[in-house]
Subunit: 337 residues, 3 copies
Amino acid sequence: MISAGKLAEILKAELVGDDSLELTAVSKIEEATSDEISFIANSAYFKHLPESEAGAVILDHIPDGEEGKRTYLITPEPYRAFLATLHHFHPTLDHSTPGIHKSADVAPDVQIAEGVTIGPMCVVESGVIIGKHSILRAQCFVGRGTTVGEDCLFHSRVSVRESCIIGNRVIIQDGAVVGSDGFGFAPGEEGYTKIPQVGNVILEDDVEIGANTTIDRATLGKTIIRQGVKLDNLIQIAHNVEIGKNTVFAAQVGIAGSSKVGANSMFGGQVGMAGHIRLSDGIMVAAQSGIHKDPGAKSIIGGTPAVEIHEWQRSFAAIRKLPDALKRLRKLEDKGD
Amino acid sequence: MISAGKLAEILKAELVGDDSLELTAVSKIEEATSDEISFIANSAYFKHLPESEAGAVILDHIPDGEEGKRTYLITPEPYRAFLATLHHFHPTLDHSTPGIHKSADVAPDVQIAEGVTIGPMCVVESGVIIGKHSILRAQCFVGRGTTVGEDCLFHSRVSVRESCIIGNRVIIQDGAVVGSDGFGFAPGEEGYTKIPQVGNVILEDDVEIGANTTIDRATLGKTIIRQGVKLDNLIQIAHNVEIGKNTVFAAQVGIAGSSKVGANSMFGGQVGMAGHIRLSDGIMVAAQSGIHKDPGAKSIIGGTPAVEIHEWQRSFAAIRKLPDALKRLRKLEDKGD
Amino acid sequence: MISAGKLAEILKAELVGDDSLELTAVSKIEEATSDEISFIANSAYFKHLPESEAGAVILDHIPDGEEGKRTYLITPEPYRAFLATLHHFHPTLDHSTPGIHKSADVAPDVQIAEGVTIGPMCVVESGVIIGKHSILRAQCFVGRGTTVGEDCLFHSRVSVRESCIIGNRVIIQDGAVVGSDGFGFAPGEEGYTKIPQVGNVILEDDVEIGANTTIDRATLGKTIIRQGVKLDNLIQIAHNVEIGKNTVFAAQVGIAGSSKVGANSMFGGQVGMAGHIRLSDGIMVAAQSGIHKDPGAKSIIGGTPAVEIHEWQRSFAAIRKLPDALKRLRKLEDKGD
């Protein structure tokens, strides 16, 4: 609970209305009640204001006719103020109490820094190092010799296999797997022989990995996810891949072995990328596309095989006209006979 | 074990043959042996009857030449009778004995109704409520403050995160994740800042969730899976999505954030759907399609971007003729010169 | 550690250089240091040789100008020699000590052969049989009545449900699910009724299953993965599917119910296949394709719906010319008026 006046002070927002109003939660503009605060950061949402029962609203101006109907916190950056408000109401999203749960199985030589939480049914193998204030929720697995940095948060049932290196402030959602064997087999006369996968995975600082996403260890060397990369759920990263700094992938993307994605790129959902390709930086890829070569820095591409996005859109518009065009072509041919 | 006569009585089927035949199992028509019962619900399977060794067969009529070869249970609805037979032979598919396994970690304030089973290595956090006769098999996780209804069945290694609401008779297959953080980041000068995901997930009554499927919690508000929805394996449901009543998705479908799918819809495998779209009810979508807008109620659509299914089929047929058409066009042009 | 001379002897390679050089690890040619050994199996990598700091290199000949710069192990099959070297440096990739971890929950009637390892937090239900030298790492689940063969390796958090049959030398990566319920529902007036899934899954000898891959049990009968099949991560195999001997699937492939894939086939990533199809042997499928019918033995196919690969490539090349062709068609029509 916080009063509207106190919150306005924290947000450095102008308060118009009742500064003593006690706010109990942050809520969507359509759902907020009289003791809740909401926000409008996108002008499309102003239409919800007349019917909203929100006690207070963060916005950049009060639209005509809405004056005096509720309390307003006015700021030039309502979205930023909303984020700060969220952080105020949910100061920490994990209530863990530091310490090793009695049911966890932690090898005697594991090095655990201060303030670390290891939850129930976790398994931490020999030689692991875990940095300050990191949290492993329930049923996580950390394999032999892996290093976990500071302020990391692993949700339930995360597996990080042996010999991996996890940076600081890394968040891994439930069920994700880091360091599974790369998919490498040598064909022989009597079927395939497994190629031992003896490399590892490195997740640099500020990486977030989605639920049930899988990141394979390198055959030799390393699979690297660079600083600030955000991967959504059910993504596949194959062995020896490198993903550049601050790149973001939507769900169900798949990157084949030994490929390299540049920095500051954005891939839509279900994109696939062939192996052994090196992409430039700043590329945007439409959902469900298939990437077979580097389109150059800052390209926007779509389709399978992916081409420049406007070319792809023109091709698809043309395909819709194709059945009719084939008839017209036949007609011209008949005329010419 | 049940005699053919007794089973015919339960199924209200007409028995032709040996009513004292003791049946030990239900099996496929191609694999059934002389003490097993099989069924034919689809006329395409009558071809297997002459070679079948099944002791008894459920069907809607005895084809010429098959009389007297085995025992028959005749009913106008053989498939329904088959389902009833399956339920007879497998009255419950889980042999759990109610109670909390000694290895489970259950917070002291968890409210557990009668007949609940909590299996080995489960972790149930503070504030959880679990309704009558629900079963958590091994290694499940239920986060703080989540409510689970009656007669639910969670298979091995299911995670349901904090503050979620699970209805009655919900089945969740192994490894599925409900309530992982939505994929929300605010871009800034030094990379992305995580937007706290403080909403939840609601699974209404009679929902079934497939193995390793992931359903993200809402940023604010709720992600909702309506009554009777069935989701197959490895599906991604993003934050703030709503899936309408009795809708069915095949495996590996992905729905982006804040989209709404209508009731009574069917999506084939690997379909992708963009964010912030609201679909009408009763839509059928071909496998691997990409949905970018609402095609209207009861539409049947295919392709990426998805269009009416016959238009899609015509386009693909036309594409196969395109290389030849381009040659013919060139020829006409040459002629015109 | 092994000396270059001793290793050359094991590999039956010709040694040119210092046979007393002590080697400490295998590394990539670009990353190897003076006490490490690397290899060149693909002529494209010879370009890295001049700058490489590797103490020793396995190759099939010494290129001009590189003589005397380091120690060489010369063999006509450098890749095979590299694999043998890897196996020498990593004789076993798992350091498990046989035995049942004190935290595991193993039913009293489980039959465990000699040399078996059952790791921490594993749950093994009643009636399970586990063959010699098989290893279950942490947090695995094996359901009632399942049989696991000899020399198997289950990584962390593997679930194999009830009544399944796992052959010898089967490797399952972290988080994979074998034997989850098939996706079967009978439509009715008030929504869908679940069809009990009472079949099982059979994984034959030498199968490898990727991380978070899901293989559903059969409705009746069995889902079969034949000898030597290798499945990458996040793959979906539906109920009653059969995958033929030595077939290989890249990540995120999905096979719908009751379909059969032949032997010695290779599917690229994100391929989808409709239900109730039987494919011939030796088929290769380009990534992201959609298979709707059997193209015949040894076909190479691509696209959705998948067609012969050159036809698909011609179609895509033609589509890129289509917008221009439509203009040319219009021009011809105008001329004809």
